[in-house]
């Protein structure tokens, strides 16, 4: 195992597990500043997690095993997905490969577990949230695949490590397909992190929330696991976006610096869009996502035409 692989593996595990909560924390802090408030510290998610970890969990009645296994299962699927995401073009081999479609499958497993748990508690707000989440997912998964196909074009396959390496340098930026893919993935970023204009992470007004809804019944360590998973999902899509669609050059060390810069830029971008955008009407979101999909098709057409000429 080379030094780069070991370093990438360390960033995957330590970064994914320990730095992930920093991302939503930073976004919240930056957003507060942009809105002229002092806001919470970027470390607030850690304090929340510590507090929750010390509290006991609640078992609403009547629920089954499905409700109780959901938080560990969601966290496990998300943690495995973390191990598939390449860091700075290097994909350490954990025996899980680094396939983009497997990553999509693992995220779907987490979504299933959380939606099933909301049926189990029977809570109306949880079901409302998962109903909307699953509706968006139908369109978001199509969009995600379209964006991944565009990123996979130069690499000739869906191995995330190869895709990140193929995005290295200035070459990809001369392809319109890359630009289209970047726009499409930006929309994926908004959906998967549950940000405005698609979802509002700040709201606890029951009728407007999506991702928060299914978490309402959980408490204590269960809630800690679920909140960590939400933070880890931020990490996954932001690192992927930085690795596949933000410019980066050079060897592993340089790329690592670009990755760090990319994460900061994307967090700042999310904070900015949170500040400037109002929440969209829920029924308009699929139209937006389909628009992204169409753009991806245009991107593919330019690539294929370019290849055939």
């Amino acid at each position: 195992m080379s030094a780069a692989t070991a370093a990438a593996a360390a960033v995957q595990v330590l970064g994914g597990v320990t730095l992930a909560p920093l991302l939503p924390g930073t976004i919240q802090a930056a957003k507060a500043r942009l809105q002229g408030r002092r806001g919470p510290s970027p470390l607030q998610p850690y304090r929340d997690l510590r507090k929750l970890w010390g509290k006991s969990v609640a078992d609403p009645q009547p629920t089954t095993f499905v409700y109780r296994v959901a938080p560990p299962l969601v966290a496990a699927a998300t943690a495995l997905a973390l191990l598939l995401v390449p860091i700075a073009g290097v994909a350490p081999n954990w025996g899980l490969g680094d396939d983009a479609l497997v990553l999509v499958g693992l995220l779907a497993l987490a979504r299933f577990a959380i939606a099933a748990s909301s049926w189990d508690s029977g809570s109306g707000f949880a079901l409302m949230g998962s109903s909307r989440d699953l509706t968006f997912a139908a369109f978001a998964e199509a969009l995600l695949l379209a964006a991944l196909i565009l990123a996979a074009l130069p690499a000739g396959g869906t191995a995330l490590g190869a895709m990140a390496r193929a995005a290295n340098g200035s070459g990809p930026w001369s392809e319109p397909a890359h630009w289209c893919g970047a726009v499409a993935f930006a929309l994926v970023l908004l959906v998967e992190t549950g940000r405005q204009p698609i979802d509002n992470p700040d709201t606890h007004l029951e009728l407007t929330m999506i991702h928060e809804g299914p978490l309402l019944e959980y408490a204590g360590r269960d809630l800690a696991l679920l909140q960590w998973s939400a933070a880890a999902r931020h990490w996954i899509v932001i690192v992927l976006a930085a690795g596949l669609f933000l410019p980066h050059w050079g060897g592993f060390g340089a790329q690592l610096a670009y990755l760090a810069a990319g994460i900061v830029v994307l967090c700042a971008g999310l904070a900015l869009s949170e500040t400037t955008q109002a929440k969209m009407r829920i029924l308009r979101v699929p139209g937006l996502l389909m628009g992204g999909c169409l753009l991806a098709f245009v991107g593919l057409a330019t690539w294929l035409l370019g290849a055939s000429i």
């Binding site: 969990v57 499905v66 139908a138 998964e141 379209a146």
Partner: protein
């Protein structure tokens, strides 16, 4: 004579005896055991051939010379039939006694399984078509034995009418292929020009496509599957539609090969329509068995996507991906057979234990029926395409094939590949939606009907069969990489794939099926342990302080409402609210809403109307007068003579 001959022969005999046993008034247990023994032997012979033993029996013949045989493709389908049928026979042992008409149902079940085996082992046109017709008629008879009130009769009529009208395509294509010597491979279809080729391909796509339930030829499927006894539903949805796909594979990949590009693209288009349409309509069903039937259409669509991609790759000269797409399609065939049989059998148990399968009136059955419930949960997760279960493995492979099609041998094909890939991704997400809803409404939450709250777990065989099938789903999810080379070896002009636990197709980041299972289970267990067992006292669900009242429980329509509203322009849902006021006070609100099946109203109903009008027209020339008929004969004779004179015939 190869080593598999004897078991195959013995199996056929045992299956025949088991089918006849109820007629001889032998014990039903004994008959079912004989049938199980027979189908197990046949399946073992099939599996042996699939995994490399010499083919059994004769090869294909063009004449009317009845013969049987097993080659690799037949072996694969025989093994799939056997796995599913064994579970349904086990299930039937406890399900049929006490059921109305148990004895004829046992006989018909045996006949049904035998006819399925006959279709895949027939080696000439006559036996193939005989098996084909029996396969259609046996379940129709079983449905009528179960009950024959007007809606059921109507369902059976639609089933027979649609599959027979469509089935004409099967007769045309198979007989034409035999005529051109294409069954045995002595002649080729292509040698006779584009006309016969187009005729055979269109007839085959329509004929086999109807029976497979490909949209828009699927109208019979969601009517017939739910009304059959559950062990028949499992076989119909699990295997019968797959046997239709067997016919399609034979024609497109063997008898009429190499086929032109449009056949591959037509299959891709029909597959995408079926996958998306099937899952969309499944989402809006309120009856569990109807939901499962629509989901079968979706999965047949996924198989068709794989087959279409394979044909397209073959046309473009990419042998590797043609092989992978073909193997993906076959893998999905066996995966879906197990999953769908598991779900239908579990649904039958729920019906037996708790009454009608209206989704909005079930709930909490996982506590009452832990075994059946757990099997249903695993099956639902598998069919939703979640790792590390078997449904994910075949969907991953199919998706890989479509993504590589998008990389494009040509601009048009690339776009087609991406449309199909994106459509399949949306299908998978919608299938998750649909089956979360089914799991939630059937298994989880509070019971919404008194009979559901007191449901009892079903006895022995009815419990064991779905559990065994669910275990099969887990097992197939772990070892798809070991099965894949044998499936790839069936493809015509194939490249060989390496057998390995980790599936690694070119240009993928590898799919390590067993390690995913280990990872998910181990990490979940570790986190479960880390969370500890410290729990507060049991509390009622909080729901922001609202009491959870069963009347406030979510319905199927409520949960799927966002999709219904987003796709309003396509689905055209109907909604009706009637408010009753008395003296300015609102007394009652009646609400009715449904998502109508547009294929029925926009396609089938007009077609039926036209057909009836045509029949009325034809009746006018049936005057009943002998002189009239003599005149018709005379005119016909003159036309024939004229045709001979001109040289059109003769």
């Amino acid at each position: 004579m190869s080593s598999s001959d004897l078991p195959a022969l013995a199996g056929a005999v045992a299956l025949a005896l088991g089918t006849l046993a109820p007629l001889l008034r032998l014990r039903l247990d004994f008959a079912l055991a004989l049938q199980a023994l027979g189908v197990a032997l046949l399946g073992a012979a099939g599996a042996a051939v699939l995994f490399g033993a010499a083919p059994v029996g004769s090869g294909f013949r063009d004449g009317i010379e009845p013969a049987l045989g097993i080659d690799r493709l037949s072996g694969f389908f025989l093994a799939t039939i056997a796995l599913t049928a064994l579970a349904t026979l086990l299930y039937a042992r406890d399900y049929l006694p006490g059921h109305r008409g148990a004895s004829p149902l046992v006989a018909l079940g045996g006949l049904f399984v035998a006819s399925l085996c006959l279709v895949v082992t027939a080696r000439d046109a006559s036996l193939f078509l005989a098996g084909w017709e029996l396969m259609t008629l046996a379940p129709a008879a079983a449905i009528l034995v179960r009950g024959h009130d007007a809606p059921v009769r109507n369902a059976v009529f639609v089933y027979l009418a649609v599959t027979h009208v469509g089935g004409a395509g099967v007769w045309i294509s198979v007989l034409a292929l035999a005529h051109y010597g294409a069954l045995s491979g002595t002649g080729t279809l292509a040698a006779h020009g584009g006309g016969p080729e187009a005729l055979v391909l269109v007839a085959a796509l329509i004929g086999f496509g109807t029976k497979a339930g490909l949209m828009p030829l699927h109208s019979w499927l969601p009517r017939a599957h739910p009304v059959a006894p559950s062990n028949f539903s499992a076989l119909m949805s699990g295997v019968m539609v797959k046997v239709a796909l067997y016919g399609l594979v034979r024609v497109l990949f063997e008898w009429a090969a190499p086929v032109p590009l449009w056949a591959g693209l037509a299959l891709l288009g029909a597959g995408l329509l079926s996958a998306l349409g099937g899952v969309l309509y499944a989402l809006f069903q309120h009856d569990l068995k109807r939901l499962l039937a629509f989901s079968s259409i979706e999965n047949v669509g996924i198989v068709a996507l794989g087959l279409g991609a394979s044909l397209t790759f073959a046309w473009a000269g990419d042998r590797t991906w043609a092989t992978i797409a073909f193997a993906a399609a076959l893998l999905h065939v066996v995966n879906h057979a197990l999953v769908k049989a598991c779900l239908f059998l579990a649904a039958g148990s729920f019906e037996r234990a708790a009454g009608p399968l209206d989704l909005d009136r079930l709930g909490g059955l996982l506590r009452r029926m832990p075994w059946t419930g757990a099997a249903f949960l695993v099956g639902a997760m598998a069919i939703a395409g979640l790792p590390p279960l078997n449904g994910f493995a075949s969907e991953w492979l199919t998706l890989q094939a479509l993504v590589h099609l998008a990389f494009g041998p040509a601009v048009g094909l690339g776009i087609a590949g991406m449309v199909a890939a994106v459509g399949l991704a949306a299908t998978a997400a919608l299938a998750l939606f649909c089956f979360v809803k089914a799991v939630g409404q059937v298994l989880l939450g509070a019971p919404r009907r008194p009979e559901v709250a007191t449901a009892e777990e079903v006895p022995g065989g009815m419990r064991a069969a779905p559990v065994a099938l669910a275990a099969g789903c887990v097992a197939l999810g772990v070892v798809p990489g070991l099965l894949l080379p044998s499936l790839a070896a069936i493809a015509p002009d194939h490249t060989s794939l390496a057998a390995a636990a980790t599936i690694s197709v070119p240009g993928s980041g590898t799919f390590p099926a067993p390690w995913l299972l280990v990872g998910v289970v181990a990490l979940t267990a570790a986190l479960w342990w880390a969370r500890g067992s410290r729990r507060a006292a049991p509390v009622p669900a909080w729901v922001c302080g609202q009491p959870v009242d069963p009347r406030l429980g979510w319905t199927s329509a409520g949960f799927t409402k966002p999709v219904r509203l987003v796709l309003e322009a396509i689905l055209r849902p109907r909604r009706e609210v009637v408010m009753t006021e008395e003296g300015g006070v609102l007394r009652a609100v009646a609400y009715r809403g449904e998502v109508p099946h547009l294929f029925d109203s926009a396609l089938y109903r007009p077609a039926r109307r036209r057909a009836l009008q045509g029949a009325a027209l034809a009746r006018r020339i049936q005057s009943g007068s002998v002189r009239g008929y003599a005149a018709y004969l005379l005119v016909l004779l003159l036309v024939v003579l004229l045709a001979v004179r001109v040289g059109v015939i003769g």
